[in-house]
């Protein structure tokens, strides 16, 4: 690999950057400009926003999000195992059992600590 081999990459970068600026410039020059309160809003369509983004909200949301990610990943891990169940045989079964035991201990922990209760 010599530096010269990377010239196609540079050309790609130039085209990407050029197109971005070109598209911005063209919409700026040719596009119609109509100002109204709705157009000036952060989101033109969808639900109206409430307050600004610096509002504080309960840490419980984070907790739910973290727990969701954890158990979601667990399922992601189990699918390939289930598909290859026969090939993986006993070793795979034992490995998955260990994994689930560890996970269940975690579930028990969060349950007893009250992480699953909203109030």
């Amino acid at each position: 690999m010599t530096p010269l081999d990377f010239i196609p990459v540079l050309i790609t970068f130039a085209i990407i950057g050029g197109f971005a600026y070109f598209a911005l410039a063209v919409t700026h020059i040719l596009g119609p400009k109509k100002y109204s309160p709705i157009k000036q809003d952060t989101y033109e369509c969808g639900v109206d926003y409430v307050g600004d983004s610096r509002q504080r909200f309960s840490v419980k949301f984070y907790l739910v999000a973290v727990l969701f990610v954890m158990f979601d990943l667990e399922v992601v891990f189990m699918y390939p195992w289930a598909v290859n169940f026969k090939e993986l045989g006993m070793g795979g079964f034992i490995a998955m059992t260990i994994f689930l035991v560890i996970l269940t201990a975690g579930l028990l922990y969060e349950w007893k600590k009250g992480a699953l209760e909203w109030e």
Binding site: I102, G106, L108, Y109, K112
Partner: protein, 488 residues
Amino acid sequence: MFDVATMQISRLLPEMILIGVALAAILVDVMLPKGKSTRGVQWTVIIGLIVVLASTFFNRENTGPAFGGMVVIDGFTMFFRLVLTFITLLIVTVSETYLGSLNIRIAEYYLLLVFSLFGMLLMAMAQDLLIVFLGIETMSVCLYALVGMSRHKHASNEGAIKYFLLGSFTTAFFVYGIALMFGVVGSTNIVDIMVYLSGVSGNVPMLAWASAGLILVAFAFKAALVPFHWWSPDAYEGAPTTVTAFMSTAPKAAAFAAFLRVFYVAFGDMSETWTTVLWVIAAITMTFGNLLALRQDSVKRMLAFSSITHAGYLAVALLTFDQMGAAAILFYLMIYALMNIGAFLVAIAVNRNENDEKGYAFEDYRGLVFRKPAMALAMLVFMLALAGIPPTAGFFGKYYIFSAAVKSGFVGLAVIGVLNSAVSVYYYLRLIVFMFLKDRDEASETPGFNLSGEMVPIVIFCVILVLLIGFFPDALLAVATRSVTVLL
């Protein structure tokens, strides 16, 4: 194909037991009533760690790579397994009463210690940069939380957030280093990297240099070497003192374990350059740590800066790039753990009010020798050991490091090191002088000047070992020398 037999899982028996201990401790925690003492969890962890130590000992012949060369269990791994588990055991044993005095009754404290121990064990056995990364992260995430354990103290939160922000920033350096190395070698395995770099002998590609530099930064951060040390004084001071004792010993040992394996084995062929870089880092680390330690009025902060200085001494041994230097590192890490944990424990006992901003003052030690002679005597031993004065083990630790440096031709650095250790005597002796000063108003003496029950045996144990290794350093040095033969 998935085959359990080829993974050599039995070589990781101690680690599996450790995970079992963590799970058992979690279950004990949820079964015990809320808000009460966490003794149950503590005892579970203590017994579990003793089982881990025993299993390491009885499984010591079962060496070799495991998980397809991702990790390797050899003498080096064994040494750090014992040292790291041992340090954690000491800390877990002394924590309960101290945490009670801080009103921290959180069983997660013990769980985080166990999980971070697991991360450190991964670092010690890693033979793949990705496993090193996994270990560093497992260890660090637990430490971030441990530093912030005193949730209602400003300093604790401040230390935790600083440590967390800078730590995650360094993680990026490390990952970038791994990515570049993978780009060059096509593998993240340490042995593969070594084979590749010795194959291109002398003509190392630029990207490999960049990668080694980034990885060096990450390790220097974890070992708190100047100029990557800025997090450490605040994190050490803010953290509960038992956590500080833990952080200044075990993670440092783990960082040097991974440092040694990666730089000696993988980057061995680039040694001429990285020893030069480390030369500068070691020189400024020793000097900087010392100069700031001189100015401290808080014993805890003084010990924090002195821990930076000691990391500098270890860096001196690291850059010798020979067996003697590596053995000196292992030797020093062991005795440093003993004397530092001992010093922190006495500091805990002397400190009158944990919630006072001006806690851990040198003034508190005034006349200690007349009031609590045994405790003062213990502190005397630890301070002399930290200063490197015979007949304590600290002397031999420094002696081995500097003689290794001289033997490898780093005479200039050895001179800087010896001068620095002469400077450090000033602030260690300052504490001793305070202990021997007459009390100004003996009537004002407050109670609560005692080591709590479980700390007494640990402090005595540390004193005895520091003295014993001071008189008979050969046994430990022989073990350390045997352990590092796999590196070079």
